[in-house]
Structures are given as structure tokens and as C-alpha cells.
Amino acid sequence: MKKLIENIYQWFHRLASPRWFYHVSGKWLPWLCVLTLIFVSIGLVWGLGFAPQDSKQGNSFRIIYIHVPSSFLALVGYYIMATAGAIAIIWKIKIADIVMKSAAPIGASLTFIALFTGAVWGKPTWGTYWIWDARITSMLILFFLYLGVIVLQKAYAVQGLSNRAAPLLALVGTVNIPIIYKSVDWWYTLHQPATIKFTEAPSMHPDMFQPLLVIIIGFYFFYISALIISMRAEILYRERRTSWVKQLAFNARNRDS
């Protein structure tokens, strides 16, 4: 039993090492990128060209194939960022701080994509690019929360102080996620209710739903890939004075020249 606990402790410690993460992520990354490309391309082509158009909305409905996956990942990504931030302040694990730093711009961009595609979709559907309904407003708040985390991190990086403000903001903001998710059920909103539920079958025709599922998976792979790429750069930056990074840079130079 004691050996088991020791092993878990060791594995946890290794996971927390930026050098170990850099080494292991380098092996996984090419595959993740390939999977991203495959799932996103198939989902896009299928949704754009082969899914039937909507009886009421016509072809503008195809924006769903970007709007829904980006929204999902914006929400999931926020939890990832906040959890990483919590781990960073509670246990002072370096890699968690790096996860939080990398997750912030990715989540902010995905939130922006969700808001932008939603606005563009709203114009032909509802006649307006914007409305202050519950879901859309709370998504805008999410965008500002992401920006706040990014800005706070930059401020502390410049001053070199221990960064507690950004994780705290991230944690405080997590209350927003269930609000976004349930807003279409709790309030009378212009944004339509959820089509994809955990407990029931989706209220969308399978010919429309299947490509959506494919591209949602693609976006998950995209998120992980983008996160890892960003983390690898950040690790090299933070560990730039260590011998393993200097050696790595030296090897890279010899390979490229």
C-alpha cells in the first residue's frame, strides 16, 4: 500500500515537471494535429456541403458547425483554465500555472468566435447582429473574464510577483459557466434552447447532427493541440536558463543549419 502511494506521488511529481511534459507532449502533438485536421475537415465539408439545409433558416444554419463547437470549447476551456489556476495557487505547481496562461488566449479567441459567428448568424435569422439576452450577454461577460485573466497575468509577469490575482479572477468567474449553460432554460431568451442534452436525444435531425458531432470532436482535438503548442513555447521560455533547454536549443540549431 505504501509503495502504491509512493508510486502515485512519483507520477504526480513527474507530471508536474515542465521538462517531462515537454518531452512527452512532443511525442503526442503530431498525432493530435493530424486528428484535428481530419475531424475538423470532415465535419466542415460534411456540414457545409452535405447536410440538408434548415426548413426555416435555409443555408445560414450552416454557421452552426462553427458556432456550437467554439461555444462548447470556450466553456470547457474556462473550467480548464480555472482549475489549473486553482492547482497553481494551492499546490504551487509550475505546469499548472503554464496551463492557465496558455488556456486564456485560446479560450478568449473561441469565445470571440462564438460571439462573432452568433452575431453573423443572427442577422439573417433574427434581423439583428446583437441583442442583450441572457445567453449572449453572459457569453460577453465570459469574454471579458478571459481578457481579465490575460491582462492580470501580463501585469504580474512584468513585475515578477507571485501571481494570485489571475487564478482568483478565473475561479470567481466559474459561476458564469452554469449561468451561460442554463440561461436558455431559466429565462425567456431570443437564443434558442439547447439542442444537445445529456439526458435526451438531440432535437435535431440526424443528418444535421452527425457532422456537428464530428466537428465538435475536431474542436476538442484542436483545443488540446493549440494548448500544447502554446505550453511548449512557454516552458522553453520559463526554463530558458536551464541546461536541458540550452542543450535543446543547441541541437535545434545544428539540425536547421
Binding site: S60, I63, I66, P105, A233, L236, A249
Partner: protein, 59 residues
């Protein structure tokens, strides 16, 4: 089965083409930036490390 009668129909998207394509291109552009910007950053970091540590001649 392909939903459009021709390629120009596909671009036209039944009148909604401008909305669909602006949404798609802006989003895919941002996603590409999210992918390539940190790759570039890593390359620059490595270049800087080498310049500082191995006295590379200025390229």
C-alpha cells in the same frame, strides 16, 4: 448527397453566402493564428537562446 446544384450555388448559399463565408473564414483564420503564433514564438525563443549562449554570428 451534395446539397447544391453547382459550385456557384454553393458559394451563393441560397442568398446567405456573405454570412456563412464571413463567419467561416474569420473563425478559421483565428484558429490558424492560435495554432501558428505559438509555433513561431517557440522558434524565436530558441533563436534567442542560441544567440545568447553560443555566440551565433548575427544572421
Amino acid at each position: 448527397m451534395f446539397q447544391f446544384d453547382s459550385f456557384s450555388d454553393f458559394i451563393h448559399m441560397g442568398g446567405h453566402g456573405q454570412y456563412v463565408w464571413i463567419a467561416y473564414f474569420a473563425s478559421l483564420g483565428i484558429m490558424a493564428w492560435l495554432f501558428f503564433s505559438p509555433l513561431l514564438r517557440k522558434k524565436n525563443i530558441i533563436k534567442k537562446i542560441n544567440k545568447q549562449n553560443h555566440c551565433d554570428p548575427i544572421k
